[in-house]
């Protein structure tokens, strides 16, 4: 069934792409199906409103981007340098509406509007990073983007399935790589080469590493950008032991004898990337790119050791690899229906190898999972059409298709005998397949000088197929869904300096192979599959206000209704799949189920940017999120046992925010004092209470002060020193196994020639 769907969608995509026209067509006026004439570029410019265009501004760059009239934020390369972020997730800590959880030092999962993992979508250069093994709860995969290779990270809060497909319930993270320099006519040089060295040192985890990168151009039509980096990260020193809200110490992590250094932290990392850009013509560009990420020996902190287990036991991700290779074709002026267009053909392999070491028993449990994802995506944006004098319309349209092939295996190893036995199945069912894709269409309309309307929809298909494994009682899967999504938005420039926005979005997430087939020990307990899951839908209503000028304020209020929300339902031993003793022996067991009844997530997000005298500026963010859903545990038969029909959603971040005072001095000097804070979180879901990552009673609040000093001399020399956690607070982000770094320093240096 999956192949049939694939063939249909491929055919459709190809037909749509070919209908886009060519350069010649771009020079001719095109028929307008709405009855008006398509404008030429000059007319477009003349008709542009006096303020910044929002949705229907002239498309000039086919690079995928988020829409301006949504709740978005962007971390630029300059910000990445200034923050000296440890990782891609770490770079988002200062963003409103984003909360970064860490189960391990070499992992980070961004919560957006209370959701994370498979309920948020990560894209790299427009290509889905999410695959069918993204699990319910935090995961490590955003960490597998090397922050040194990123040009910027955009975050859209709120659903985004219409444009980006499944999983975009809580939000979308769009990471953009640094790309080869734009190719232009008349440079005149036959060849140029510009190397750059980036290096980084931290004291809290004794990290050292660097990256050597270079950019080369050959003539006017060929450019190369690439680099390789490595870093070794030691055990992370924190501010010390953390106690939960009920006064008991957190069960994880364990500490070294100094009471500060966290066991189960530290890892090694290697990255490499190469991109070749070839200008085919004035309006066509082809880019071949490959990105390699190799993380080695990264322990999962809450399992190194697990609570109550011997000190020498540890679950380590010996290999966490990501390999991405793709071809991106970017074009402009293809015709009225495709003023800009972009297509990607991608292959991505996510590889992980785990080892649970139990030295006292001379035993190790090994697992290996490989996901090969083949992707095809196409997106285009039309020219502006003017069906009436005060109305301008523009269409965005396209489609995507991703196909996963999954290999999974597990072994038990007796090290004293050098004996290896392969288990009947791995975490997933070996040979499983998954397909997701769809077609979308969005309309942007300027209705006069102050009103902008946006509407769109997507129809798609997702299907899963997995073989059975009788030895473990695993059923075969052959399921498919036809999810749809839609979006509607309105922005009104009430005043020149004030913009009011509202959006309604329906997004979806189809069940993936992790939901349908995986068996694994998760933080709260053993989780087993549910082959009968159905897609979950998120209906979001958000309203926002933005001001422009010296005081830049942005406020958003949202409510998201999750229907059929997938969550962990406590299960009894009698519910365990057959021949799965690790299910029965677990303290707690869970199965993912679609909730009956709606879950609600509500919140407020605010950002303030204030320009002050003396080259000073103030930035602040604040986010509060509240989530509640149906109790997925069955009502106890004993009426005296307390039972609540609705309970908090799992791991909803506490109210948190940042305050940063910046000074931009002369000659490239800068300084900042930044306060990160979070309130306590004691609203816990049922599964949170058995999750060792959450201290007993809940996670205490914190306030951490950082100082940042910087110097920038163009891009030739960039230096940053961050003095982190000046008051050496013991703290952690809610849901994390890892406490935040203690007092320490980070030095980051980029030197170019």
């Amino acid at each position: 069934m999956a192949e049939t769907t694939l063939a249909h969608l491929l055919t459709l995509l190809a037909a749509v792409a070919l209908a886009g026209g060519d350069d010649a067509a771009a020079a001719q006026p095109s028929a307008d199906p709405a009855g008006g004439a398509a404008e030429d570029d000059a007319a477009d410019e003349e008709a542009a409103p006096v303020y910044e265009a929002v949705v229907v501004g002239e498309p000039a760059d086919p690079t995928p981007a988020l829409e301006d009239n949504r709740a978005t934020s962007t971390v630029s390369r300059e910000e990445l340098d200034r923050r000296a972020a440890r990782s891609a997730p770490d770079a988002l800590r200062d963003e409103a509406g984003v909360f970064v959880q860490q189960t391990a030092h070499g992992q980070g999962s961004a919560f957006i509007r209370g959701l994370t993992g498979q309920q948020t979508l990560i894209l790299f250069d427009g290509i889905r990073l999410n695959n069918s093994t993204f699990r319910q709860g935090p995961n490590q995969y955003f960490f597998t983007l090397d922050s040194q290779t990123l040009e910027r990270i955009e975050v859209q809060r709120g659903g985004g399935s219409t444009r980006w497909g499944s999983d975009a319930l809580g939000g979308v993270i769009l990471a953009h790589p640094v790309t080869p320099a734009p190719l232009t006519d008349g440079d005149g040089r036959a060849f140029s080469f510009a190397p750059r060295l980036l290096s980084r040192l931290t004291t809290a985890d004794r990290e050292y590493g660097g990256r050597l990168e270079g950019q080369a151009t050959l003539g006017d039509d060929l450019a190369f950008f690439g680099g390789a980096g490595l870093r070794r990260v030691g055990r992370l020193e924190s501010g010390g032991l953390l106690r939960g809200l009920d006064g008991e110490p957190a069960l994880v992590p364990r500490f070294a004898t100094d009471g500060r250094t966290q066991r189960g932290t530290g890892f090694d990392e290697l990255t490499a990337d190469a991109q070749l850009a070839w200008r085919l013509s004035a309006h066509h560009r082809l880019r071949a790119a490959s990105f390699l990420y190799r993380q080695l020996d990264a322990p999962r902190t809450d399992q190194c050791p697990a609570p109550f287990a011997p000190r020498d036991e540890c679950l380590t991700y010996e290999e966490q690899f990501r390999t991405l290779a793709y071809l991106a074709w970017e074009a402009t002026h293809l015709g009225a229906w495709a003023k800009t267009a972009r297509a990607t053909l991608s292959w991505q392999r996510q590889h992980e190898r785990r080892r649970l070491r139990r030295p006292s028993a001379f035993t190790a449990h090994l697992g290996r999972d490989d996901v090969d994802t083949f992707g095809l995506a196409f997106a285009a944006e039309s020219r502006a059409f003017r069906p009436a004098d005060a109305v301008r319309l523009r269409l965005s349209w396209g489609g995507d298709l991703y196909l996963d092939r999954l290999a999974s295996a597990a072994w038990i190893l007796f090290t004293d005998l050098d004996f290896v036995e392969r288990r009947s199945r791995g975490q997933y069912l070996d040979g499983s397949r998954y397909t997701t894709g769809g077609l979308f269409l969005e309309l942007g309309a300027e209705l006069g000088p102050r009103l902008t309307l946006r509407a769109g929809g997507r129809g798609g298909r997702a299907s899963a197929a997995a073989p059975s494994d009788p030895a473990s009682g695993s059923r075969a899967i052959d399921a498919g869904w036809w999810p749809w999504s839609g979006t509607l938005g309105l922005s009104w420039r009430a005043l020149d300096a004030l913009e009011l926005l509202t959006n309604v979005d329906r997004s979806f997430r189809a069940p993936n192979l992790d939901d349908l087939t995986s068996r694994q020990q998760t933080g709260p307990g053993f989780q087993f599959e549910n082959p009968l899951l159905e897609p979950e839908q998120a209906l979001t209503l958000e309203v926002g206000a933005r001001t422009h000028g010296i005081v830049r304020l942005e406020l958003w209020a949202f409510v998201t209704r999750l229907d059929g929300a997938v969550g962990k339902s406590p299960r009894e031993i009698t519910d365990c799949p057959p021949d799965t003793p690790q299910c029965a022996t677990a303290w707690t067991r869970f199965q993912l189920v679609n909730a009956e009844g709606a879950a609600l997530v509500r919140g407020l997000e605010g950002m303030l940017s204030l320009t002050l005298p003396l080259e000073l500026a103030l930035r602040a963010t604040g986010t509060t999120t509240w989530g509640e859903g149906p109790n997925l545990a069955e009502r106890p038969s004993d009426p005296t046992v307390p039972y609540r029909r609705r309970v908090p959603l799992s791991r909803v971040p506490p109210t948190h925010g940042t305050v940063e005072l910046l000074w931009g001095g002369p000659a490239g000097l800068s300084a900042a004092a930044a306060l990160r804070w979070g309130l306590a979180q004691d609203r816990l879901a049922v599964s949170d209470r058995s999750d060792a990552r959450i201290p007993p009673g809940g996670t205490p609040g914190f306030a951490v002060l950082d100082l940042r000093l910087g110097y920038r001399l163009d891009s030739a020399l960039v230096a940053t020193v961050v003095l982190e956690n000046l008051f050496d607070a013991a703290y952690r982000y809610h849901g994390s196994s890892v406490n935040g770094p203690g007092r320490g320093a980070t030095a980051w240096l980029a030197l170019g020639w």
Binding site: R294, E313, R353, I412, I573, T585
Partner: protein, 369 residues
């Protein structure tokens, strides 16, 4: 420096996209289990006579009119049935794994083959299974270390009596699995595993009953570690052993389990209990019966020394060599002379052991459940 160079080389290979190779599954060890000698035929029997025994005044007696004759307040156990606090008790699966191991290694009348030791070890090493609990089991009969827990290897090594799981039982079991898988001394290795696991099943209910003070579901674990999560009349695990040998001792142990449950029911079932006197009364009742059951198992092995021959006799002695020292704390607390005698006897070769004296010492020391 050399290692570093190798590591960088390995990294270079990794950059090229090379993941490590998958481990190559081993061929299961071949061969059948072979043993010299013969077991006791017929097997040694024991007729329990506790007619001279009487319960203590503080004992909980659910079998006597539903606790009508004792001093305990009415509670959930008065119907002579164990009512779990939690609907699911993960301990049950660990005792089920014990039964799987028993079937493979000593329970089905055959000499275990090397492959049986591998299969049994896989059952033992399931995630969150027996091994995970052996590795952390402590014996609350002994004083805890002043600092640190048994999960610290150094602490476990320094306090082997308290940290009985990681310090004494786990190493012995793992070594026996490995030796058995190599085809060595199958009966002896199976006997060591059996004895160590039985001691684990003895210590665990006491530990769980103690920690039930603050963790209610541990009362369920106490029940499950003894009975395998079954009723009084259909026991598995340690309870099966005791029931077959000495039914009244089993019933008294089950009474003790119900006493622990009764205490928890009377003393803040859902939270932390405070009536530690009642708790200790219940645990003492349970312990008295349990330890007698284990002592009687040792007694049987002593008798087997007389009728078993060859490897079967050696296996019986192997069990004794483990159980008697583990029982020594309780034996010595009751009768120092008997404790000295028993330790001295199990240190002798099988054919030099004074069976009658050893049996008499056990009978005298553990007369009543």
């Amino acid at each position: 420096m050399h290692n570093r160079a190798l590591r960088w080389l390995a990294w270079t290979l990794v950059v090229a996209g090379c993941a490590a190779d998958d481990p190559k599954p081993s061929d299961p060890p071949g061969g059948d289990g072979e043993a010299r000698g013969a077991p006791c035929a017929p097997p040694v029997t024991y007729s329990e006579d506790v007619s001279t025994c009487a319960p203590l005044a503080t004992d909980y007696l659910p079998r006597d009119g539903g606790s009508a004759t004792d001093t305990w307040a009415p509670c959930i156990s008065d119907d002579n049935t164990y009512h779990p606090i939690e609907p699911s008790v993960s301990t049950i699966a660990r005792v089920a794994a014990f039964e799987v191991i028993a079937d493979l290694l000593w329970q089905n009348g055959k000499v275990p083959a090397p492959a049986d030791f591998i299969d049994a070890r896989v059952a033992y090493e399931e995630e969150q299974g027996l091994s995970s609990r052996l590795a952390r089991r402590y014996d609350p009969h002994f004083p805890p270390p002043p600092t640190g827990g048994c999960e610290e290897p150094a602490v476990a090594a320094a306090y082997p009596d308290y940290c009985v799981g990681p310090a004494r039982l786990q190493p012995l079991i793992v070594a026996a699995f490995a030796d058995g898988a190599l085809g060595n001394d199958p009966l002896g290795n199976a006997a060591r595993i059996e004895a160590a696991l039985l001691w684990f099943l003895y210590v665990s209910p006491i530990k769980e009953a103690t920690t039930c003070t603050t963790t209610p579901k541990d009362c369920d674990s106490a029940w499950a570690y003894y009975t395998g999560g079954t009723s009084r009349t259909l026991p598995i695990g340690l309870a099966r052993y005791v029931d077959r040998l000495a039914p009244e001792t089993h019933d008294r142990a089950f009474d003790g389990i119900l006493a622990v449950r009764c205490w928890k029911n009377l003393d803040n079932e859902a939270g932390t209990s405070t009536d530690l006197t009642l708790r200790d009364q219940a645990i003492a009742q349970l312990d008295r019966a349990l330890v007698r059951g284990v002592a009687l198992l040792a007694r049987q092995r002593v008798l087997e020394l007389e009728c078993a021959t060859g490897d079967y006799q050696t296996a019986a002695l192997a069990k004794l060599a483990l159980l008697v020292p583990l029982l020594d704390r309780e034996t010595r607390a009751r009768d120092v002379t008997a404790a000295d005698l028993l330790l001295a006897q199990v240190a002798l070769p099988a054919d030099q052991i004074d069976v009658a004296a050893a049996v008499a010492a056990i009978d005298a020391t553990y007369p009543c459940p």
